[in-house]
Subunit: 335 residues, 2 copies
DNA sequence: TTGAAAGCGTTACCAC
DNA sequence: GTGGTAACGCTTTCAA
């Protein structure tokens, strides 16, 4: 079932079929309706490849995803897939997981004529953005920033971290720790910066702990370190760079007999699904995931339609979600 | 940079270029080397779309993934992406998450000329397999079985569950519970069947508990129910249909002051990454994930090359991993 | 308002 | 061995 077949069936030329189906205004509505009816009747579907080859768009958007140990990026993937479907786009996975796949990624990008790219990987961001920029393929970074050839949508990490700092201060905490990793992504750096600066302004220092990776295990390791501290050196409140690390911290503290939040308050960033499990009930900064993906797609689509649009950086405000892992410190101070 | 451009550069026809690059034995090695050198020099990459249109394979494999609340399927995705890359295939996400997307999925399947399909969704399995079968697109189900138009690779759920039953018996447990969901997938059904049958043969019954969904929350709900049982009605050992549910069960039990494994033994199935966290250290049946994906891809590739191959069902044996959430019951019997 | 023809980048079938 | 030509299914000038 192709345009040619349909044309024969309708007794017109295949050009007419193409025009009718693509809503060309020059086709009479009588002809259009007749052709459309036949097309539906025959279950016709235009071949995306042929259409692309003939100079159109592929409808493919390349996805570059970082390590999936952090559930936040899974939710992101889920949301991207859902919203892509709504807009009639198909997500082609270019890369997933740690490690760089420059060559491979680039090849697919080119060979399949990907219309645009969505990138959420820390490591790859700059490289990929650069490669795409050279190829004239629009790129939008989700939750990552780069100065090169790309637009980006992220939550305001600095503001969010500051907000958390003020919240913890307002709860009466007076000694603080930050849990992150050594290899800091832009996102992680901003969160640390925002947190430390806000506290520094208020006259407080922040002890830094770091795990190997931005994962539960990394958080757990940091948590064990904190738990082994003498009581008077133990921070009142711990802010982890991500929820997944915060959960690791909590598990480590509890394992060592410390109660959260009675002995130590812990907070994270992201608001992943696990954070609201009753066993954690983690206080955190919720990222506006749906909006992030929405705006990201909008940006990408706009740039696909008009590649000359200037790069844009969208910053979305997160929302403080005060749950059960943080609580006012006064009570304990009085003890 | 196309075959035509290269042809001009090399002073030959574009047919010759195509042949040289595709290893046609009729091309003299002198010509071949010259053309290859120019191609590399110019950074030429064949256009996958044009190639497909001209009757070749697209190199695209459709991915249909079920709900991603279960981390096992994330690992699976990761492995599929990695292995697809090795074989020069690109994974096109046709569907991800709950809910059926028949129409949409089918459209993409057809429009992008997907070479084959990998399906891991419980709900969609039969529909999709059917649709693909009609279109002549080979399908391989991973961890799912269907009788229609498809091959499948799964772990031997029945044998695995039986193995777990015997293991728990050998540890001295004498009362058992199974935790699953109401809407049972083929996988879940088999695991329940294997577990119950093995125990029934040994003369023991199994109490069934079920949560809403096959997720942490589902397990947690079941765990709460179990925890609220009077002590003499409490099972010695609990087998959950999946690790993610088992973790929920454990968290619920602990929340109610019960110790695992001192008071109750808990085991799961899958061996997801979370299972080996020191805070859980879950006993489970490990699915041979890498092999599963490997065999699945092999099957798919074989069927793409030769669509007339008969359907095949591969059953892979899982491995019992005895960790810390199960332990011999003798000690307690003596108390 | 419609039809004919060219072109997108490849591969494949025939000649030479 | 190699070159011309057709074909894949579609969109898009250019004519009429």
């Amino acid at each position: 079932m192709t345009v040619v077949t349909l044309a024969r069936l309708a007794g017109v030329s295949h050009s007419t079929v193409s025009r009718a189906l693509n809503g060309d205004p020059r086709i009479s509505s009588a002809t259009r309706e007749r052709i459309t009816a036949i097309a539906i009747d025959q279950g016709y579907m235009p071949d995306a490849l042929a259409r692309t080859l003939s100079g159109g768009r592929s409808g493919l958007i390349g996805l570059v995803l970082g390590p999936v140990e952090n559930p936040f990026y899974i939710s992101m993937l889920q949301e991207v897939v859902a919203q892509a479907a709504v807009r009639g786009l198909r997500p082609l996975i270019l890369h997933l997981g740690a490690g760089s796949a420059e060559e491979d990624t680039l090849r697919a990008l080119h060979q399949y004529r990907v219309d645009g790219c969505l990138v959420t990987s820390a490591q790859l961001s700059s490289d990929i953005a650069d490669l795409c920029g050279r190829r004239g393929v629009p790129v939008v970074m989700l939750n990552r920033v780069t100065r090169l050839h790309a637009s980006s949508v992220s939550s305001d990490n600095i503001a969010g971290a500051e907000q958390m700092a003020h919240f913890l201060l307002s709860e009466g905490h007076r000694s603080f720790a930050f849990v992150g990793t050594d290899t800091a992504s832009s996102t992680a750096q901003e969160r640390e910066e925002g947190f430390c600066r806000a506290l520094s302004t208020a006259g407080f220092g922040v002890t830094r702990f770091s795990g190997q990776s931005s994962s539960w295990l990394g958080g757990f390791a940091a948590g064990e370190e904190i738990a082994s501290l003498p009581q008077d050196a133990r921070p009142h409140a711990i802010f982890a760079v991500s929820d997944i690390m915060a959960l690791g911290v909590i598990d480590a503290l509890r394992r060592h007999g410390l109660r959260v939040p009675e002995d130590v308050s812990v907070a994270g960033f992201d608001d992943i699904a696990e954070a609201s499990r009753p066993t954690y009930n983690l206080s955190t900064i919720a990222q506006p995931l749906v909006t992030m993906v929405q705006r990201g797609m909008d940006l990408l689509l706009a740039r696909i339609r008009n590649p000359d649009l200037p790069h844009e950086t969208v910053l979305l405000r997160g929302r403080l979600v005060a749950r059960g892992t943080t609580r006012p410190r006064m009570i304990q101070d009085k003890l």
